[in-house]
Amino acid sequence: MNPEAFSGGRLADNIMHFVRSLRAAGLPIGPGRTIEALRAVEAVGLGRRDDFYWALHAVLVNRREQREIFNQAFHIFWRDPQLLEKMMSLLLPRLTSDEAPPNALEEVSQRVKDALAPAPVATNENAEAIEQIEFDASLTFSDRERLQSMDFEDMNAEEQAAAKRAIARLRLPIEKVKTRRSRLDPRGRRVDMRNSLRASLRMGGAVIPIARRALRTRHPPLVVLCDISGSMERYSRMLLHFVHALTNDRDRVHTFLFGTRLTNITRHLRHKDVDVAIGKVTAAAEDWSGGTRIGKTLADFNRLWSRRVMGQGPLVLLISDGLDQSAGEGLAEEMARLHRSCRRLVWLNPLLRFDGFEPKSKGIQAMLPHVDEFRPVHNLKSLEQLAAVLARPAPRQDERRAA
């Protein structure tokens, strides 16, 4: 960052590369902001490193969760004067220098690493790597199709990553319910006196045009209970990504994990960055991949949390394979109570993927009479079907009983 760079326009290049690498790390930064960043740096000058840092921060970061990525990228990028060359090497793979990646890179976020790391040394490997990336980027239709119906359990790391990206885009359009609040609506059923009178006054009071209101609709709250015992492990980790996408898509989502004990992870999942959120969840729950005591943990939920989170008629997603260590002891009563206190209880069970699945286990037999929907959840397709089912109106209470 010498004055020469400033005047010679190399600073502009540097900032542009910096912005590009941030973008590669996943920060949504438009081209307009590169110019703004340059202006900001010109305004504060290059006298102090921290001024420079905060000037770029002010322009390029607009969410709390982007700070960490920015911070890491900044320190790597602006520490090493060679970095520009390295960046160039990314763009022009044939001219790479033989430099090994700095050690510090090993400790930083995978995304920053991916965005900043120089390409591998040898030219041949390089070409292969590029090919690989291109292949990845343009996932063909049949690949996507295969991914859709592939069991989460059979996926390798790369396929899992692709599935996680697909999950992040999933939305759950639950049927909306009427609230007791209203909004202006010309075809509404209630008369809005206040607006009618105002409109009337605008016309001198001779006529009263009737303004109307209709009830607003809103998603019901969502409560997710997810089994994290050993038998569910691969699925629950994948489904946590799904729940994270849900949590950040709407308000009023409460999530609990259960194995041998119950953990409330609602606040952890609220972190917008999925990697950080899952990291916090993993740290919070102590019973990953252990046994399952569904009856006891549901009893805990009913006693301690039910009144706090079930107040407004939520939709409950119970994600579990129903394999209970304590052979379904006390499970039926707790399921009945859970069912009574919610709008709709949906049980997602990955075991349902087997065609010949029969509910023989005692736990499953105890739970099955108390659920409104019983659905498989083992691949992307089943998640999409779930979305479709939940968008349909729930069956009426009496139909539910008849079924």
């Binding site: 001198g204 009071g205 009563e333």
Partner: protein
């Protein structure tokens, strides 16, 4: 006749006691601070532990008016803050027409003047007046929805209400605000931040006996002891809904109405519905469990030397 605020925590406790409200030290402290600092008091706790009662007692002992806002889903500005009197407004418009003075701007001003405003609890609480500031009770806030909570932020931080047609109405002296919640959902942090928070817990045995002595006239000491011991041991069990203080008082009244001076299994079984409100809980306690509880309660009473 309004009284000045208590100057110490002891005075606060005395004040509550004078209205037959038996408070523990922590509640007296937080109440004293709320009065002293002019901050709203946010009380959370299970149903029937005396949250609403605190506001009533405060209003009575400090000689102030009680403005009560019962929350429910869909509570809106029209029923919480103010409403225009549409019928009278329409008559006003017709009268103006009949008099032939149809000046639009003037009419608009006339019709949306304070004369046609119907005050609701929140507006009444912040309306400047010569009386001392009232006690504003916002009851069961968890029953309403988030939009109303957001609306409360302005009221609670500045004690003012904005009416677009008239302007901002600001309290001369901030009202004493008590907010209660049964925690059927979490209240947003932004609202909690503006308040002092207190979790109202079930009382311990000594305090519950004092409450019964204050609230149930004519109850004997032996029955008090047994009733409280029984309820306290119920609270130690793994029930879906534990009985609150209100239930204890109801039960004591019920036993007196039945002319009982001591607990016996048959009476307990018959009156269990006063204490427990869930069928599962009643079914679990009725019969042998109740009998063994009574036995233990009586044994304790003997060892305690009564």
């Amino acid at each position: 006749m309004s009284r000045p605020f208590p100057k110490t925590i002891d005075e606060t406790a005395e004040l509550l006691k004078s209205a037959r409200y038996v408070a523990d030290r922590s509640l007296a402290t937080v109440l004293f601070l709320a009065l002293k600092m002019g901050r709203p008091l946010f009380l959370e706790g299970e149903a029937g532990v005396g949250k609403t009662e605190i506001a009533k007692v405060l209003a009575a002992t400090l000689g102030r008016r009680l403005e009560r806002l019962q929350c429910y889903e869909g509570l809106d500005v029209a029923s919480a803050v103010y409403e225009w009197n549409y019928a009278r407004q329409m008559i006003e418009i017709r009268l103006a027409e009949a008099a032939g003075s149809a000046d639009k701007a003037k009419l608009g001003e006339d019709v949306f003047s304070p004369r046609f405003l119907i005050d609701r609890p929140l507006l009444r609480a912040v309306r400047p007046s010569d009386e001392p500031a009232p006690v504003l009770l916002i009851d069961e806030l968890d029953r309403t929805d988030e939009p109303f909570e957001a609306y409360l932020l302005e009221v609670l931080s500045d004690f003012q209400v904005t009416i677009p047609e008239i302007g901002t109405i600001k309290a001369k002296e901030p009202p004493i605000v008590i907010i209660t919640s049964n925690r059927t959902r979490e209240i947003h942090d932004a609202l909690k931040r503006r308040c002092l928070y207190h979790w109202v817990d079930y009382p311990d045995a000594a305090r519950e006996r004092a409450i019964l002595a204050a609230k149930v006239p004519g109850i004997g000491e032996a029955l008090t002891r047994e009733v409280v011991a029984f309820v306290q041991s119920l609270r130690g069990l793994d029930l879906f809904k534990l009985p609150g203080v209100a239930e204890t008082i109801d039960w004591a009244n019920a036993l007196i109405a039945l002319d009982r001076i001591t607990l016996d299994p048959a009476t307990v079984n018959d009156t269990l519905g006063v204490l427990l409100k869930y069928q599962d809980d009643v079914a679990r306690i009725r019969g042998s469990e109740a009998a063994s509880l009574i036995e233990r309660v009586k044994a304790e009473a003997i060892t305690a030397g009564v």
